[in-house]
Symmetry: none
Subunit: 155 residues, 2 copies
DNA sequence: TAGTTTTGTGGGAGATTGTGGGTAATCTTA
DNA sequence: TAAGATTACCCACAATCTCCCACAAAACTA
C-alpha cells in the first residue's frame, strides 16, 4: 500500500451529527489510490477508535481469517471483538466520516466534543483528548523500553 | 543514499509563520536526487527537532513497521510515539520548511526566534540555541562513553 | 573593484480547509 | 403504505495555509 504514510497528530471537533473530519493530507494520500471508504473499529488494546482504509482492512481481515482456528476459544473471542464493532464509512463530499454511537461510547467521545487523530502509518487512531492523555500518563516509554528497542535492528 | 553528507552548523531565524531555512548546501545535495520533501520529528533522546529527508524517513519507517506487531501493546505505544510527532514538510520555492507548533513547543523554539541546524550525515537536527548550549554543558562525552563506543564497531 | 548570482528573509493574494446547517433522498417501523 | 427517523448531499463561510513575488545582504566572478 504505497499511499500509507499517515503521521502526525491533528485536533478536530465532532459535530452534532457525529461527523469528524479526516486530515486533508490523509485524504489526498487515499484518493491518490481511489480509496473513499474506511472501516472504523474499536481500538485493539485501548479505548479509542481505529480507522482502516478499506484495502488495509481487507488485508487485516484476510490475515486474521487465514490463521484463525475457529475451535480455539481465544481466537473466536478475538474475531468477535474485531468484527462486531467494525463499521464501514464512506467519506462525505467534505471528507468527513460519521462515527457510530456505539464506538463513540466505548472511546469516550462525545457529540459536539473534540478528538485527536493520530497517524499510525497505514491506519489512524481517533482518541478523546482526555483518554489519550490518561493513556500516555499510564504507559510512558521508559529508558528500559528504549534499551530493548536498541537491541532490535530497528534504527 | 548517496547524497547524504550533511555536516556543519548553521544559524537561521524562524519567521512569524514558523518557517526555517534549510542550508543551501543541504538543499543542493537533496535536489541532486530529487528530494523535495522531509519529515520532521521529535528528537529521540532530547529536546530538539530531527529532520529526515524523505528516503531516509521511509527507510526508518519500514524498518520499524516490518518488525511491528499491532496486537502488541508495547509495539503499538512505540509506533504511536514515533509517528505522532512526525510531520511531512515540502520545501517551499525558497527552500524553507514550516515547523509545527507542537514540535516547536517541545524543542523550545519560538516564532521570530533563532535556531541552530546541525548536520548528522544523513539527517539534520534543529535546536534552540539555548537548549543546545544546555545540552552540551550537561552531557559531555566521558571516558566511559568512549569505552562504550570502542565496543561497538562504530569507528 | 564592479557587476552578477546566490542566499536568507518578509509579506500579500488566492486557494484550501475545517465546520455548520438546510434539504431531499433513503431507510425503519408500525 | 405512511409517518417518522436517519442519512447523504449540497451550499456557505471564516480562518488558515500555500504559493508567489520582492528585495537586501552576502558571496562569487571577471
Amino acid at each position: 500500500m504505497g499511499y500509507s504514510d499517515f503521521t502526525g497528530q491533528y485536533k478536530y471537533s465532532v459535530d452534532s451529527k457525529n461527523r469528524v473530519n479526516i486530515p486533508s493530507r490523509y485524504r489526498k494520500l487515499m484518493t491518490e489510490e481511489d480509496v473513499r471508504e474506511v472501516v472504523i473499529s474499536k481500538g485493539i488494546d485501548s479505548n479509542h477508535i481505529d480507522v482502516y482504509p478499506l484495502p488495509k482492512w481487507i488485508a487485516l481481515r484476510d490475515k486474521i481469517t487465514a490463521s484463525m482456528q475457529l475451535v480455539n476459544r481465544v481466537h473466536r473471542n478475538f474475531l468477535r471483538q474485531f468484527t462486531q464493532n467494525a463499521a464501514h464509512c464512506t467519506l462525505d463530499s467534505q471528507g468527513r466520516i460519521m462515527l457510530t454511537p456505539a464506538l463513540m461510547e466505548k472511546a469516550g467521545i462525545k457529540s459536539n466534543g473534540n478528538v485527536v487523530i493520530i497517524g499510525m502509518i497505514d491506519f489512524m487512531e481517533i482518541w478523546d483528548p482526555g483518554e489519550l492523555q490518561k493513556h500516555e500518563d499510564n504507559t510512558p516509554l521508559t529508558d528500559s523500553d528504549f534499551e530493548k528497542l536498541e537491541q532490535l535492528p530497528l534504527i
